[in-house]
């Protein structure tokens, strides 16, 4: 029963990983770009929410909504004003530029907020849980995070499948020249994709900040976990990304339970490397491009 409890906690944790991973996968899917600053942007969002709560005194819910809006706009501007210029030249430029962005965000946050750990307080929702048995209880907040991830992915999948804009996303992803010929403005589409990706990662960042403490240097870890979720899930499938996040979360919590604190993260990475060895395309891949 202890193990069942640990597994359930891992699944719930996986939801948060998947939420971080969704934006990374969306951006890669639409414009074949890997945003190395993705995790740092999520942490940036957490700090923006913290700033709004502390300085403007807004309730957390409104601060979250405002943060998502800010990150949406930032995403559009960032892509339109900077990242679009690095695309289509050679592969190394977007990597170098987004890595540079990651360094900028991290150090700017340290300058403004110091390197200390921070937390966002959501009140008593953080401490209540559903007791299933003596050894298993599910925290309300982790459950809400997981369900949020499922809802976001469902809406995103629906959007990509049905909405006119979603169709444009897929068209640009499949063949950017042909899409352009059909009257799609790729630059605008890329910028919207980044805007949506950052809006989602903003939500992920705020939820992370409520769930645990955070500091400016954590972006890299968020990026790595998101990446592992994407690769294990398989490219082009958002539900696959959720599955990848769950696998990672369960591997980490089981690893911690089995080998002690400190080894959980190693277990997560090793499971990822094993998947990469035996099933490099991931479990639910839809696209062939790696």
């Amino acid at each position: 029963m202890v193990w069942a409890n640990v597994t359930v906690q891992g699944i719930l944790l996986g939801g948060l990983y998947a939420l971080f991973a969704t934006g990374l996968a969306l951006v890669f899917g639409v414009m074949r770009m890997v945003n190395l600053a993705h995790g740092d942007l999520g942490i940036l969002a957490a700090f923006i929410a913290l700033f709004i709560v502390q300085s403007l005194g807004l309730p957390l819910l409104w601060a979250t909504v405002l943060t998502i809006a800010i990150m949406f706009i930032l995403g559009y501007v960032l892509q339109r004003g900077l990242l679009n210029f690095t695309l289509g030249t050679d592969d190394t430029r977007p990597i170098v530029v987004t890595f540079g962005l990651s360094i900028i965000i991290q150090n700017a946050l340290i300058l403004k907020f110091s390197a200390d750990s921070q937390g966002l307080d959501a009140g008593k929702i953080e401490n209540i849980s559903i007791k299933i048995s003596n050894q298993m209880s599910i925290g309300w907040f982790p459950l809400i995070v997981f369900l949020t991830a499922v809802a976001v992915i469902a809406v995103l999948e629906l959007f990509l499948a049905r909405a006119k804009l979603g169709r444009a996303f897929r068209a640009t992803s499949d063949d950017r020249e042909a899409a352009e010929l059909m009257g799609i403005n790729n630059k605008h589409i890329y910028s919207l994709a980044m805007a949506i990706a950052l809006a989602i990662v903003a939500l992920a960042g705020v939820l992370l900040a409520i769930r645990t403490t955070f500091d400016p240097t954590q972006g890299g870890f968020r990026l790595i976990y998101a990446f592992e979720a994407v690769i294990m899930g398989g490219m082009g499938s958002m539900w696959g990304t959720l599955a990848g996040g769950i696998i990672l979360g369960v591997a980490q919590t089981l690893g911690t339970q089995a080998f002690g604190a400190g080894w959980g993260l190693v277990a997560g990475h090793l499971v990822f490397l094993t998947v990469l060895a035996v099933k490099p395309s991931g479990f639910f891949a839809k696209t062939v491009t790696a």
């Binding site: 430029r93 540079g100 990446f227 190693v266």
Partner: protein, 363 residues
Amino acid sequence: MSTPDVAKAAPALPGFRISRSTRMHKIVLVLSVAIIAVLAAVPLFAENAFMRNMVTFFTLVALAQMWNLLAGYAGLVSIGQQAYIGLGAYGLWLIGDVLGLNPFLAVFLAGLLAVAVALPVAPLIFRLRGGYFSIGTWVIAEVVRLIVSNIQATGGGSGKTVLSAARLPIETRITGTYLLALAVALGAILLVYFLLRSRTGLALTAIRDNDIAAQSSGVNVFRSKLIVWVVAAYVCGVIGAVVAMNLLRIQPAAAFTINWTAYALFIVVIGGFGTIEGPIIGAVIYFALLQSLSQYGTLYMLLLGIVAVIMATVAPKGIWGFIVKKWDIHLFPVSRRLVLDTPADQDVKPAEKPGPAPMAESV
């Protein structure tokens, strides 16, 4: 054109040759030897603090060369070279302190520890492309860092002191480390130089430009990338060991920090991608800035990040790229150029071959 004409035209072809070095390269060679001689003589008159500072400079040059070899030539944009630097540092401790070998010898063996990890992970992470490859290299670095921090034998999170090096007489250690670091920096430059002039160098250029086209032309892409990957891991391991010789203290958080990659990336982006000269110039600029701005720490990193982003967007070939474009200077003869040996008498008979226009002097 009829067949006999072609046959007749063929003997006229020896009028060109493929050239690499020019007179300037000979001047550069002489100057380089002079600079190296001066640098090697530094321990005769310099103070210890200066030499320890120079060790940092030399390791940065070598690190930037290796990162550029990976990213600028092989298209392997690694953000995980800190794995091999850290392994080299711990390798010095393992071979010097635990196995009891001379620490100066241990520095070179420490690189093998890095290779022992780089070799088996290569087939795995080479499955990833572009930015995902980059994150994959970071995952490996994280795994190594976590394992080293979690086991007690390596001192856990607080690390180890390299006693075998600390017990050396201070003059011997500092002078020795200085000369070692100089040798590693020169070795890294020469290694890249000879690698680029070799068959692998040609293969790398082809892969960088288009790996699928290179593969279909018979280039063994995997093998070429593997050579570069392993060479870079070995040299990064040696660099890590030299750093550990210099600092004597090894901690996992510092040894495996991604800042190593950040330094290398800044240096190469500022100096110039895909050239040997770029990382050297970049290292000089980076080091000069470091001397004057390092007390600002975080602000310094922030500024470097901004400079890197601007350079990569506006001037992706860096400072050296700008110099090449303006004056067409190449200090290292790694590229091939076509030189037409055209004595005047041969040149004035264009009537025989009216077809192609005279070729440019250099390509």
